[in-house]
Symmetry: C2
Amino acid sequence: MASTASLRVAPQADTYAAYQTPLAVRQACRSGALTGPTAGMAPGYVQGNLAVLPKELAEEFLRFCHFNPRPCPVIGMSEPGSFKVPVLGEDLDIRTDFPGYRVWQDGEVIADTADVTDYWRDDLVAFVIGCSLSFEEALMAEGLPLRHVDRNVRVPMFRTTVQCVPAGRFSGRMVMSMRPLVPAHAIRAIQITTRFPQVHGAPLHVGLPELIGVKDLMKPDYGDAVEVLDNELPVFWACGVTPQSVIAEAKPSFAITHAPGCMLVTDRRNTEFAIL
Amino acid sequence: MASTASLRVAPQADTYAAYQTPLAVRQACRSGALTGPTAGMAPGYVQGNLAVLPKELAEEFLRFCHFNPRPCPVIGMSEPGSFKVPVLGEDLDIRTDFPGYRVWQDGEVIADTADVTDYWRDDLVAFVIGCSLSFEEALMAEGLPLRHVDRNVRVPMFRTTVQCVPAGRFSGRMVMSMRPLVPAHAIRAIQITTRFPQVHGAPLHVGLPELIGVKDLMKPDYGDAVEVLDNELPVFWACGVTPQSVIAEAKPSFAITHAPGCMLVTDRRNTEFAIL
């Protein structure tokens, strides 16, 4: 697939240089200087997805996440009404520190915005959910090539036939991201990502995509297609798009998520999340 | 494949009952009461393969094993001329404590015997090499089904095109054992066996056997064929038959190995070999 401007997910090199620390990224979000994807910024630090829900849904959503830890690893959560998650950064403000947000009403997007201060309510609860950028860094640190990174496109993601464990009003199919790897790298990737259970952990499937309802690897439901070569296996990890997909299906009266690729950069190091 | 008497690798249930401890197994070998396969005996304890070589070859063989730890994990070794390996059992006698032996001269088998006391020489060095029975126990303890165990046949083994690291007069292709597993079990098996680097460790290949020179999964080079179902992946581990295969090719003037399936039962617990 051609790497066109519209497919680019990482900023240019000069942008990286300006955003080496989590605080620098968050401050740029707050000031409005940064409104695009965060992949590659503040290397070594955990980035997170966002789900904000009214308190009356938050308990059920937490239960959903708790029993679906692979796609929905909650790494931080606010008190009801609070926009602070100190465990991820003392200064952190959920309303301003993502480069972009989507505001949802009754399952429809009503706004794409870089600041949700005007939408904040006293009954909202914020969930920050671990993301695959953390384990991808660990994979690349060991020299495993990731095709979507090499191509500078988004990772391909598929709505599989694997059902999440339902909880209250939340249920649905698990979304998985797919990375093609030669068998020896697939084995090594299983070992490496097993060390990171809070950022999706080990793959959930390898090698036989039709068994999880994936009929055409070149037609992902989200992200961009990358080919799987004859000497490679498709390796599938639970994906943080799952909670968004499940929230969209539940059609809550109100919700806020991050805009695609526009993550929160936290003060936690990726290595802190390795269990060994 | 039909489970015929000639294919049976495990003894009958009443035999197991008599051999619950490593010492009981070794004493039965010494007395000549036990001359058959040891699979399933003294559950929980490490069993080992045997390679005995003259001192003038032993240094090269140790070097070969050291740089090929996956197929050749040396878990015990005698002083030159000694038939003791106290680290694996204080009372242990390499000459008598295996149920059966093969004696080799210039690459040919010259004797199949239950006792090599008469063949022992002052220049011999014994190597005890870890075996897959240890990790199979760990896999089964987690409920992963192993087809060759269910069928009571030997695991299928293949001489792959993967070359061992050569050392002195020892070189050759790696033999791998194959177990068919559904993808989720394959991933779990990679995790479990990663914990046991001294008994072959993680698989070396999964899913695309033609890449390692295996053209027909139903035609193993050693052991018995088991089918791989449509919803399964063939998973390959480095196999302890590799050192025997390499020794046979090197055609040393003299060597002793264990008879197929007739292992040494040691006092070390399988769990001791888990690195975490």
